[in-house]
Symmetry: C2
Subunit: 281 residues, 2 copies
């Protein structure tokens, strides 16, 4: 899915919601536990329930890898199921990869080449620590996206990301500036945590046109209106992720309808934001 298609999808659904499929097996509703693949059954129900309100799905690989090959099978089935809705949602492998050039090429195949790996995500999250040649192999895949970590939503972001260099530029700002020569707004997004919404203003000064993937709304405490206030650009340019607050809204048999309710609430708030900004009418 390219920039124009994603932007159009946002306008059509009046939503910039990304649902994080962080489907931790211990939190899956009890009544699904006896099915053949509880995590896939859970994901399928969550997708069916939330698709009208959602423009992107973002499984975090950790929650699948923690169950070894069985977990990867759940992920594979989930992504195969999402192929039925290719024009209705964008898909992000939240994997935070990055390695030396020839190795990152292998990771790119892992997420982008269906022929090689069976997976065909639209985008993958990448860590910037190893620099350009760790990122560019992903950008070499036509029509695919890198979502580069800039300012994350966790406490550990303070350890290094906010450190300023001799010219007063924080590391995350340096990442935003430097990486813009590696890709364009058409294949490069940035992760900026909602828990630092006021920093979005600074981010928008450096990267006015790029999509920002904003985690941390919901369970992590970030505010959607604050994120929109500082992060929205003229085409929207935001994907706001919520995971636990939607997928684990209920742990009972009504988990899917409760997830839909939570997603709908966010979509309605987003619709209002988009209308107030004149992005949709």
């Amino acid at each position: 899915m390219n920039w124009a298609q994603l932007t159009e999808l946002i306008k059509t659904k009046q939503s910039f919601l990304c649902v994080g499929l962080d489907s931790e097996i211990d939190k899956i509703p009890a009544h699904l536990r006896n099915t053949e693949d509880p995590v896939f059954e859970f994901n399928r129900s969550i997708i069916d329930a939330t698709l009208p309100f959602t423009v992107a799905y973002k499984p975090n690989l950790a929650f699948y890898e923690s169950r070894g090959i069985e977990g990867l099978n759940s992920l594979k089935k989930t992504m195969d199921y999402l192929e039925n809705f290719r024009t209705e949602c964008f898909t992000i492998a939240d994997a935070k990869r990055g390695d030396i050039g020839n190795t990152s090429s292998q990771y790119a195949r892992a997420f982008f080449s269906k022929a090689a790996s069976g997976f065909d995500f639209d985008a993958v999250t990448v860590a910037p620590y190893m620099g350009e040649d760790s990122v560019s192999p992903f950008l070499a895949f036509e029509g695919k996206w890198v979502v580069l970590l800039a300012l994350t939503s966790n406490k550990g972001a303070f350890n290094f990301q906010l450190n300023e260099d001799t010219s007063g530029t924080a590391l995350f700002e340096n990442v935003l500036k430097t990486s813009q020569s590696w890709g364009s707004k058409n294949n490069l997004m940035f992760v900026v945590g909602a828990t630092r919404a006021e920093m979005l203003e600074k981010v928008r000064e450096i990267a006015p046109e790029h999509f920002l993937l904003v985690p941390g709304v919901g369970a992590q405490g970030g505010s959607l209106s604050e994120v929109a206030r500082y992060g929205l650009n003229k085409d929207c340019g935001l994907l706001v992720n919520a995971s636990r607050s939607i997928i684990f809204a209920s742990t009972g048999t009504d988990f899917a309808s409760k997830a839909a309710e939570e997603a709908k609430k966010m979509q309605e708030e987003m619709s209002l934001i988009l209308r107030n900004a004149g992005i949709v009418s």
Copy 2:
């Protein structure tokens, strides 16, 4: 495997060689391609041939993930095979993971919890960008290790890792300093690329006692004697990785014996280094 056991193993084998199992399927010798699992057959032969000269094996996950679930099966079989040699080698998942706290906990299970994932590595490589809470969940696993990226061997290391903050401290030095409060020499190592051997002197000033995992010797051009000159400490404190120069020393039917030859050459050079330094007699 703990610090004392690893150090003893180095002295016994008179080697600090780590073999990188970057077993790219397109480079596997042709005569193995018709076996049921060419990558596993290749790895098993490489392990059998190099074990006398090697103290550690380091599969890079990218080369397995690029083949999807089939690739993960090859890795699983390889690691199951290595369990036969638990006291004879240390194992490192070169995965360069790192995420917010509860997610990193899931990654830790993926690599350290046999019950959860089927994998039971001694160590995993972790990227430091997201800071303390992205690293500490790995360190919470008793007897397991984090190998934290500090200064990598690739060109992209210049983008951010060498940037100095207002106090003149480069990012990689800051990572070395800050992370020492997260773990000890008993569960925390650092990646320092051999392509910048002279920087090892600076690294040793900051982290005199920690093990350093040094990639970049061999195909990437780093020199073993330079690495030892600046990186060795009184107990050795080094694991030097070579991948392609050993495992792809030949692409013919003699690939295993040629790999053994290359590993033996490095072990002999390492033995001399250890004797000259008085670490073994």
